[in-house]
């Protein structure tokens, strides 16, 4: 299942400038990772990724590394998947917030993703990278703000590609659902996964903060039970 686009149009703003800026920054930093950092990635990740042990012992970049980690990606598929999801779920969330508060919420969701990651995997020396924690926050926020939203999604049924408009709740539940079992396994068996499931869940639950960031008119619509 691959979300492709949110087919609904914006209500408040013409263009999702901050979403696009975030995508450009992520791509630019990935370019630096690939073409500038190259083989020397370990010190780079130690400095600019979120490593639980370093965060808990207040070593390394702390808050700054927590932010820079949100812009680092492991490979082109990691980057591509995250940026696609950022575009799909971020556009209308930004529309409801305005660009600067959207940025604040994005960073907040990414930070809470790392907080849960650090709390659950406090012994881990594996650096956490990627925008996915923040993007799970956007998915949660999207679900809160647009519960009736539909997402154009690419699905394969017996290798046949289809792209129906699926209710956002099913898309989001699918992505959150596939985190839960590996997250529990990480907790119980102390298994390390290359995917940071707890960070995803942390980001998702931070979506409740979105109500502090949406613009007054959008909030009035939210409390009036009409489409934000």
């Amino acid at each position: 299942m691959l979300p492709l686009n949110d087919t609904e149009s914006n209500r408040y703003s013409f263009f999702p400038i901050m979403t696009v800026i975030l995508i450009v920054i992520n791509c630019f930093i990935f370019y630096i990772e690939v073409f500038v950092v190259r083989e020397d990635y370990w010190p780079f990740f130690m400095k600019y990724a979120a490593t639980p042990r370093l965060i808990l012992s207040a070593q390394g970049g702390g808050a700054l590394s927590n932010v820079t980690a949100m812009f680092l990606h492991g490979d082109i598929f990691h980057l591509g998947g995250n940026m696609l999801a950022l575009w799909v779920f971020g556009r209308r969330v930004e529309d409801a917030c305005g660009p600067w508060r959207f940025l604040a919420f994005y960073l907040l969701a990414g930070t809470w993703a790392h907080v849960l990651f650090v709390l659950v995997q406090s012994d881990s020396r594996v650096p956490g990278i990627g925008a996915s924690g923040a993007i799970f926050g956007l998915m949660g926020a999207y679900l809160l703000l647009y519960p009736g939203g539909r997402i154009r999604t690419l699905v394969f049924i017996s290798f046949v590609p289809l792209w129906p408009r699926i209710r956002a709740i099913w898309v989001v539940l699918y992505f959150v659902g596939i985190q839960i079992i590996p997250a529990i396994q990480t907790l119980l068996r102390k298994e390390d996964y290359s995917i940071n499931h707890w960070a995803h869940l942390g980001g998702f639950f931070s979506a409740v903060f979105i109500l502090l960031f949406i613009r007054p008119e959008a909030f009035a619509r939210y409390v009036s039970d009409t489409t934000v």
Partner: protein, 342 residues
């Protein structure tokens, strides 16, 4: 028994302390002899209520207009009666105004104005009632008239003076007045003001702006959007940036503020709260007291005031974040990179 004997008996009974029996005797007496001056005089001292005393005295004076002692006593009684009525009216007016304020807080403006009007019927020179009407009335002319009365009654009341200045400002700035009505959740009245403005304006740019507002408010009405007070929107938005800053500090101090305490980072939190408040204030249209107290403006904040407020807000929000980033960079400079696990 003759009238004189009944009177004598009543007087003796009164002197012996049996007031009620004496009063009954005198009441019987004045029924058969209504022009008995002495009987009415004694009655005026024996009846309980102020009104009955006054009636008795008036009857004495009707029989004998030259009875100066009773005339003086009647004057005293009438003064006491006026004071008593005034006191009761004052108490009623205060009670009515309290009820009016409760309705005003619930945004039930018509009921509040009605009760404040009733309070004024009880006590015409009640400055607080005039002030309340001046503050809540949706009619700008009624607002100004009420506030002028409030200021006239109590020129030292700075709240009334400021409200009057504001109302006069809104009278000559109808767009702000319409915006104020919208803030109060009175979409119909706001729409009326905009429609009136649209019919009067000759400038096409102004007309476009007003027309956009009309469309927007009509849209809100069609969608049945629930009214959210500007103060609540400002409060809600104020907590957004501090939530981010607080989360970043938590990460910076290793999720343990007691183990890795950095004083100046925590000092930044109130600055971020203040900055975030100013940013919210600059965005949400409201007649916040900041516009009056700091900029001496009586509308919803001019573009200049909003710009200054937003700039100050951004400064206060960003400075603690920059300090946090500098603290992180400082830590990064002294950071020894651990070896890569094999």
């Amino acid at each position: 028994m003759s009238s004189a004997e009944v009177l004598q008996r009543a007087i003796q009974t009164a002197r012996s302390g049996r007031r009620e029996a004496a009063r009954d005797l005198l009441l019987d007496l004045v029924e058969v002899d209504p022009r008995n001056e002495m009987a009415w005089m004694w009655l005026s001292g024996l009846v309980d209520s102020l009104e009955d005393k006054i009636i008795a005295c008036e009857n004495v004076l009707t029989i004998n207009p030259s009875n100066e002692k009773v005339r003086q006593y009647l004057t005293q009684l009438q003064k006491r009666q006026e004071a008593s009525i005034l006191k009761k009216n004052n108490e009623d007016a205060v009670s009515l105004l309290d009820q009016a304020k409760v309705h005003a807080e619930r945004n039930e403006i018509d009921a509040a104005i009605n009760l404040a009007g009733q309070a004024l019927e009880k006590r015409e020179n009640y400055a607080d009632a005039w002030l309340l009407i001046g503050q809540i009335s949706p009619n700008i002319d009624q607002q100004i008239a009420a506030l002028e009365k409030a200021c006239q009654l109590d020129p030292a009341n700075s709240e009334a003076v400021a409200a009057l200045k504001q109302a006069r400002y809104l009278k000559v700035n109808p767009i702000s007045a319409a915006s104020r009505l919208e803030q109060m959740g009175k979409f119909d009245e706001a729409l009326k003001v905009y429609q009136e403005l649209a019919s009067k304006t000759k400038n096409s740019r102004d007309f476009d702006h007003i027309y956009k507002q009309i469309l927007r408010i009509e849209g809100l009405q069609d969608e049945k959007i629930q009214y959210v007070a500007p103060a609540s929107a400002i409060t809600r938005l104020t907590f957004g940036w501090p939530a981010l800053y607080l989360s970043l500090i938590l990460i910076q101090v290793g999720l343990n503020p007691f183990r890795h305490f950095v004083f100046y980072l925590w000092l930044g939190l109130p600055l971020v709260v203040l900055g975030s408040f100013l940013l919210s204030l600059a965005e949400v249209r409201s007649n916040h007291m900041v516009w009056q107290k700091i900029f001496d403006e009586h509308g919803d904040g001019s573009n200049f005031a909003r710009f200054i407020t937003a700039a100050t807000g951004w400064f206060l929000v960003l400075v603690p974040h920059v300090l946090l980033a500098l603290d992180s960079l400082n830590r990064l400079q002294n950071f020894k990179i651990p070896p890569m696990p094999v």
